[in-house]
Amino acid sequence: MKKEFNFSVYLMYTKTIFLSKLVYKFDYVLGLLNTCIQLFIACLIWQTLYGGNASVEGISLPMVITTIVIGQGLSNAYFINDQAVSKLIKDGSISFTLLKPVSFRLQLLAEALGEITFRILSNFLPAVIIFSLATDVLPPAGVLPFLLFLISISLGFGVLWMLSSIVQFLSFWVMNVWSLSTIKNVLITVLSGAVIPIWFLPEKIASFVSYTPFGAIYFIPTRLYLGDIPPAEAGIYFTQQLLWIIAMLGISHLLWSMGKQRIVVQGG
């Protein structure tokens, strides 16, 4: 069946999810509190580690705090339900979803963007404002670095989304993707630079990270923001991010096309 692309349809999915999130006010307050507590602990720990030193290996404490606030703050906002496809397969409703005249994969993305937009506005930005007032979160290195950051952070989200979609589509083979999703998240936590900036990872691990997509999610954008990557070199890093997206899109597409063939709907 040919599926026509109509942008406004997907925008409706995004809008619906966004509006549905507005209903749960208590969850929103709690979510913000959670993010603040988490960032607060992280900042305290790094402060204690620095113990009054202005900079360690050329990296200042405010640079670390900015990296943490952007990385961990965004990772709280990037709510992606890795088990969405798995749930549809289990209860069989995937068959209805596939019959709809919209692309299922774009629908998933549109819905996720609705939730994430909500979380960025209600959770990430307020937390950034609070922490800018309370601690040394650095402003962007300039207008150009900030614009490059915005491009790079969007590409970074693309990398994260592709990682997630690979895990999601593995649910055609694995009944419960919770464990795969957890293992993926562990790798992101340790290697993405959001919890421990990649500057401070042991050299061997840092060079390993440069061969993985993990550094492309939060760390490359943050370095552009800080001016740690000169704007002139931004092109190389954008290319790197794009290549990861394309490569993983290929894998994810392969999994999806093969997986669709072997759907067995359980129950009626």
Binding site: S179, V186, V190
Partner: protein, 267 residues
């Protein structure tokens, strides 16, 4: 010894249930192990660069952390039912427990013995504990070993008391998961580090409100004698193992009292 055979029977049932999906059961244990290991990896990498945090060195911090994992591993082996108790009340299946001729707490404990998660958490805790226990500067005399064992039991009971309190509250409030998220899971994030690095309000929280400090910080101090203990009363190190027993006793009394307010939600 009838309770023991019931415990065994239920354990076999839950293990069989999990082994319906063998690959899944193994992956879940692995995922839990790695998830908790990630925290350790982060601390390890940090200290590799920075040497120490507030006077605590790598092995001492790992020792401090191992209490959290080890006690939690034992906790979920015995108290998973307590952790997920809210669900029992919400769907009304707690009624079934009330009708059976065995103690309620006993049934809650044995019905959900979670060996797989316990192995994921517990083995990491045990490995970490054994690995760090011989690297830190502690002479393992009979007194220290006894203290350590009691402190671990006490640590399990402190967490059990917190969850028993939540379970009791769920008779009157039904939904306590938000409260639990803030009180337990968030507080636990602080507890992995020496509490002396935190602001006074967080110290009060960790000592008097959600007493995680008695699960790992004070027991570790009894054995390690770090200088930052000076700001807390030395008494706390000695009573640490007893705190768990006392709190669990209080939580049991409150549970008995709350039971009378139970109204079935089922239909």
């Amino acid at each position: 010894m009838e309770w023991l055979s019931l415990f065994k029977h239920y354990s076999v049932l839950t293990i069989k249930e999990r082994f319906q999906y063998k690959l899944n059961a193994i992956l879940v244990s692995l995922a839990v192990f790695l998830r908790e290991g990630a925290t350790i990896a982060v601390i390890y990498f940090m200290l590799l660069r920075f040497g120490s945090i507030n006077g605590w060195e790598m092995y001492e911090l790992l020792f401090l952390y191992s209490y959290i994992f080890f006690t939690y591993g034992l906790f979920i082996l015995f108290f998973t039912g307590l952790r997920d108790f809210e669900g029992l009340v919400r769907i009304g299946s707690f009624d079934r427990y009330l009708l059976r001729p065995r103690g309620l707490i006993f049934q809650i404990i044995v019905a959900k013995v979670d060996w797989f998660a316990a192995i994921g958490h517990g083995s990491l805790g045990l490995l970490l504990f054994l690995y760090s226990a011989f690297q830190v500067n502690v002479s393992w005399s009979a007194i220290n070993i006894t203290y350590c064992a009691l402190a671990i039991i006490g640590g399990v009971l402190i967490q059990a008391a917190i969850f028993l309190l939540m379970a009791s509250l769920s008779f009157t409030f039904i939904s306590v998961s938000n409260l639990r998220q803030i009180l337990y899971w968030n507080t636990r994030k602080f507890a992995g580090y020496p509490i002396s690095i935190f602001h006074a309000s967080i110290k009060i929280l960790l000592i008097y409100i959600v007493p995680f400090a008695f699960v790992n910080y004070f027991p570790s101090q009894f054995l390690l004698h770090k200088t930052d203990m000076a700001e807390f009363p030395a008494l706390y190190m000695y009573i640490a193992p007893a705190v768990g027993f006392a709190l669990f006793g209080l939580a049991m009394l409150y549970w008995r009292y709350s039971l009378q307010f139970y109204k079935s939600t089922g239909n």
